[in-house]
Symmetry: C2
Subunit: 702 residues, 2 copies
């Protein structure tokens, strides 16, 4: 990796304006247009905790923290464990925890910093997420001061590596149904942790196969013959030599599709006794005599409160997926701006990949989408910080935060996979080499779509929240009012449940002064189309679900099942709207004219891309005429061509440095090779010894 | 792997017909419907060379041929090389080659057998594809008898492992522009093979990093000061000890996203001399004095003839991608038919995954698509066999074959990636474990989308063929005739270029006697919708491209570029139509009533899935009313529910045996775990010692 050079600026060789290849200008300079202020956009993208992110990016310039392709699993696991200790040395694990344990009590900064680790090695991001975000958070968020005093110091300095033992082989998404039991024995004042059958083995747990010394084990709390539902227990699992403690057993999950620097494994417990002390009892307490108390009376609400305390995993995955996607886009677009293939038939230089209509089409809308994700993730992060810092910690705010995380994490993790895949294919065979990063990113980020909440299950949660918010509005209204509503609402006064902003609160500014007024698809109309779709889909499902209230449970379940797919789609539409709004609000902060202009085009491209994706829906529901709909795709083509000269600026604005990129194809080597080839052919022509082509020979003969 | 058991048949436990979970019947028996004849469908899917495929599947039951997850690259490479020798021992390499060299001269069977290797290890499929399908084929197809005598025996028995040195770092898709030169020296009667600059290094070549002793090197043939374009040369590269010969150098491509059992690498040549003999001279000869002759006068046509001789790679990838996809669907659907998660709220057993509307929706259309691919691949294979056996080897047939392969390979390789990904996510965390195969399939099949022709580039070729066929029809007609045509055509008399069947020839049978008459979307209408779309899209692009003929080259190139995306879409639509037609023809062969019925539903699901994917197009172009369009999605829901009881039969019909599947989650282990859990809870209830739930306690208090 000694040959890393600063990624070259866009190609600046002279180009023949007429008679040349089918190209738009390659740079904003050539386009004679206002260009973006790259540094200012970097600030904008890095968001509220830009300082912490820069600190983290500086730290991970150390090659000791980088992923090494092809490293055997055993070695990779040890490397990542040692990297975790390096993070401790850098003080990177302190931000989340209270000051009294040497922490910084800075929740937003903590997640912002951790997200960046994806650039070093996603295994490191997730391994430290397991240690501090899950295992550590369980102790911190679900435990009380006595637990903090006992275990937080060892957790923060990683001298107690721990597993987060929630998922079981038999139950993943349905945590409430796990089989592990924790039965209180008042005689010894102990809980007996037990795995009653194979399906109740804890599974897929980072730190379980090798490094974990303890685990936060979720189990059905049983005392006095009553099951009080799932609670969390601190359970030591290995001794200092790494041997399982009596009654504890496990298995290695072995090789995975990615993240092989993490020792995922299984755990099971055979009547393992832990002191009563070890119940993490913030939300539910068991007295010495076995009597149970909780400030939250409803078992359901208590369960969701405990799970909600762990929402940071989803917030952090949303950000890491966004940053990982940005890296793939940086690499693919930088390469696309240098690589040439096929001459245009016009007898000139070969065509730069990004000059092809198809290549613009396949990558630029994904760039727009990724920008939107940066803005929405920053809003999510601020909401998270508000709640967890205590500044805005109300039950409603917590519920909003959870819904928001559940809406955004699925979108960004799926987008990561499809974007990284498109980016890798756009680089051809070079994209398949591990050294160019994209295949590794895909492999590591793959599981983000199903862990910390399966994406479809999360979206269904969001859908249910949308349905209940919708019902809430009409609680005291009759069917006629409902019908009027479904027909008459406009963007200004729409239902807007569980969003980034309160009901009816408009986004700050549509940037309507700018030249986005094209084809009647300006910002207000994008917003209206996106909002109406959420509204209408929720109303449709709600309408079809109305009879369920009076049905037997099995028929109601059947009816729900028939609407499941569409409810999930509605939730996705909601998430897309939130991303679009966040992008729009983000752009509104920009004062520099050129930057603002280009970002408005990019936001428009994102809006059009979403509308095109769901074009059939808009047509079927009479929201767009056939003519207007047909213009959407053409508008995307035009926006892509318009943004093409700004593409390099826009990916440069991610602010990655060579130590973050580390992909030879994005290093400028391609351009060097082309220059060398060009010089070779020029010299050959000059020498007079160049062979003539058979074709020209044939022409001469004629 | 000792615990492999025969994949269990679908869950047969008793289910409560009323008051139960929201389930359709799980099996055809329960549905009291005619079920498919599983064995007969297996025959149908395995197609024309079913016998050879079964032979290959029998051979790969040997664990020595299996992929071992997590094996370090160096070891994996040696293992795959030794597997290649095992194939030789099994006689698997003989089928493609002439009888005089111990071959079987059976082209169709050869590819049919090789496709199945994907089930053992995709690295083995591609490594043997490099040896016999590319390196060997180049010698066989581009060389003449003297070359066959000299090298084929060593190629067939793999004593000469070889690389296929076509692609260069600087030129992949644009082979005509490669930089390597082969300059004839009449004094010594040798060709001088030379790499003039870094971009002309041969790259991504299997067998180049380690095992190759020779390479078929594509280079610009220069003799007498004239460049006759790209020709292929046999060039020894390593001695018996594996050391590069003088003038030859190279580099290892290192770790890749998958296929790490293959030693891909780079080669370069510094004035390497080979005898005149080594020009593979079937299509172009150089006499001792350096004079050039070829039976194909046009340099362009000669070039494409040479490339076309190597079409088998694409045919074989289409089949391998289809088989690999089938494996992922077998695993995900078998698991979905056993795995339970969440109770339905109706107080019964937890719900089987495949009973969820969303789960049916995400997997069953992909199953339908995969069935279509089996049928279209068999047609492609027959066409290939016709041409290469000489039975139907005309220039037109060759061109059709190449277009067909270029249309089908992109679709099946992309479908492989999206289907395998959906399958892996549908299995949650278990799907991410390497032992369950899906992540490995995705990693290995990833590069199929860009090698042997980048998918977008291939589709563009198809699109250009469609355009020229279209133009051909109107060669002597005026604009008015063209306009009449564009408006008036119906499915019966449509343009149908480069297809599986000749212009105007209808598919055999729509199965119209069956109950697919629903919602006015029966087979004839599906066919009309799919056909019209190809027709219209091609006509649209052709219309917009008409001015190009009178434009300067650069403007024409610009105009083409503006239509590139849509032309590629038209080609994709063409490929989808071909798949649909092949499926329909395949079903027409079925005589068993139940089988026929179920397969017609499945074909309808595929048709509806395609139409839904392009619904906006149908609406914008007035081919479907909003009402009809809205019914498409509902029809898909209904077809999915209708096919749900047949899902296990349909994947069982792939005919995989446990040694092919090797995925613990599809082994029946999940069902065993559930039964164990069920028995545990039953025993607990019976004991009278089961804890009561807090909820029920609260109710009691009230």
């Amino acid at each position: 990796m000694a040959d890393i050079v600063r990624p070259t600026t866009p190609a600046t060789h002279t180009r023949t304006p007429a008679g040349g290849a089918p190209t738009a200008p390659h740079t904003a300079e050539e386009a004679a247009e206002p260009r973006i202020d790259v540094d200012a956009v970097t600030d904008l993208l890095l968001g509220t905790w830009a300082h912490t992110r820069r600190e983290a990016r500086e730290m991970i310039k150390d090659p000791a923290l980088w992923r090494v392709d092809g490293m055997p699993m055993a070695e990779h696991r040890e490397r990542v464990m040692s990297q975790v200790h390096l993070l401790v040395q850098h003080g990177a694990s302190k931000r989340a925890f209270p000051k009294e344990y040497g922490g910084l009590d800075d929740n937003g900064a903590n997640l912002a910093g951790f997200m960046e680790l994806v650039l070093a090695d996603p295994s490191l991001q997730i391994k430290s997420g397991v240690q501090w975000g899950l295992f550590g958070s369980a102790v911190y968020q679900l435990g009380t001061k006595k637990h903090h005093d006992e275990w937080l110091p060892g957790i923060i300095d990683a001298s107690i590596p721990g597993a987060f033992a929630m998922t079981e082989t038999g139950h993943g998404s349905d945590v409430a149904a796990i089989g592990t039991t924790a039965t209180y024995d008042p005689d010894t004042e102990e809980f007996v942790i037990h795995t009653p059958f194979r399906g109740a083995w804890k599974d897929y747990l980072g730190n379980a196969a090798l490094h974990g010394r303890a685990a936060t084990v979720f189990a059905q709390l049983i005392t006095g013959g009553v099951n009080y539902g799932v609670h969390c227990f601190y359970v030591p699992i290995r001794d200092e030599e790494g041997t399982f403690l009596p009654g504890v057993g496990g298995e290695d999950d072995g090789v995975k599709g990615g993240l092989n620097g993490i020792d995922n494994g299984r755990l099971h417990f055979d009547q393992v006794r832990v002191p009563r002390f070890n119940l993490l009892d913030r939300y539910g307490q068991v007295a010495a005599d076995g009597s149970y108390t909780s400030e939250i009376d409803s078992p359901g609400r208590r369960f969701f409160t405990m799970l909600g305390a762990l929402v940071q995993g989803r917030v952090s995955l949303d950000g890491a997926a966004t940053t990982g996607t940005a890296l793939a886009l940086y690499i693919a677009l930088t390469y696309a701006n240098q690589r040439r293939q096929f001459d245009s038939g016009a007898g000139t230089d070969e065509v730069v990949l990004l000059d092809y209509g198809k290549h613009q089409r396949r990558l630029l809308p994904l760039l727009a989408q990724n920008y939107a994700q940066f803005f929405s993730n920053d809003e999510l992060l601020r909401k998270f910080d508000d709640v967890f810092s205590g500044k805005g910690d109300t039950p409603d705010a917590r519920e909003d935060l959870e819904t928001l995380a559940a809406a955004l994490k699925p979108l960004s993790t799926w987008n990561a996979l499809s974007t990284v895949q498109e980016a890798r294919e756009a680089c051809g065979g070079a994209g398949f080499l591990a050294e160019n990063r994209m295949v590794g990113l895909h492999q590591d980020l793959d599981v983000y779509a199903t862990f910390e909440g399966d994406n479809n299950v999360l979206l269904q949660l969001v859908g249910k929240r949308l349905l209940s918010d919708f019902a809430q509005q009409f609680k005291d209204k009759d069917a006629a009012a409902l019908a009027r509503f479904a027909v008459g609402q406009t963007a200004g006064k729409v239902f807007h449940g569980a969003g980034l902003r309160a009901l009816g609160q408009a986004v700050t500014d549509f940037g309507s002064t700018a030249r986005s007024v094209e084809l009647g698809l300006r910002a207000e109309q994008q917003h209206e189309l996106l909002t109406d779709r959420v509204q209408q889909m929720v109303a449709d499902v709600a309408g079809r679900m109305r009879p369920a209230a009076k049905m037997p449970a099995d028929e109601a379940a059947d009816l729900f099942n028939q609407n499941q797919s569409e409810l999930i789609e509605a939730a996705r539409a909601h998430g897309e709207l939130l991303q679009w709004e966040a992008f729009t609000d983000g752009v509104a902060k920009v004062t520099d004219e050129g930057t603002r202009q280009v970002l408005i085009w990019l936001r428009d491209l994102f809006g059009m891309y979403l509308i095109e994706k769901h074009l059939a829906w808009y047509l079927i529901n009479g929201r767009l005429s056939a003519q207007r709909a047909a213009s959407v795709s053409r508008y995307i083509d035009r926006l892509s061509a318009r943004l093409r000269p700004h593409a390099q600026d826009l990916v440069d604005a991610y602010g990655f440095e060579p130590e973050h990129v580390r992909a030879p194809i994005a290093s400028g080597a391609e351009l060097e090779r082309q220059n060398e080839a060009r010089e070779y052919y020029a010299a050959l022509r000059a020498s007079g010894e160049a062979p003539v082509s058979e074709k020209s020979l044939k022409k001469k003969r004629k």
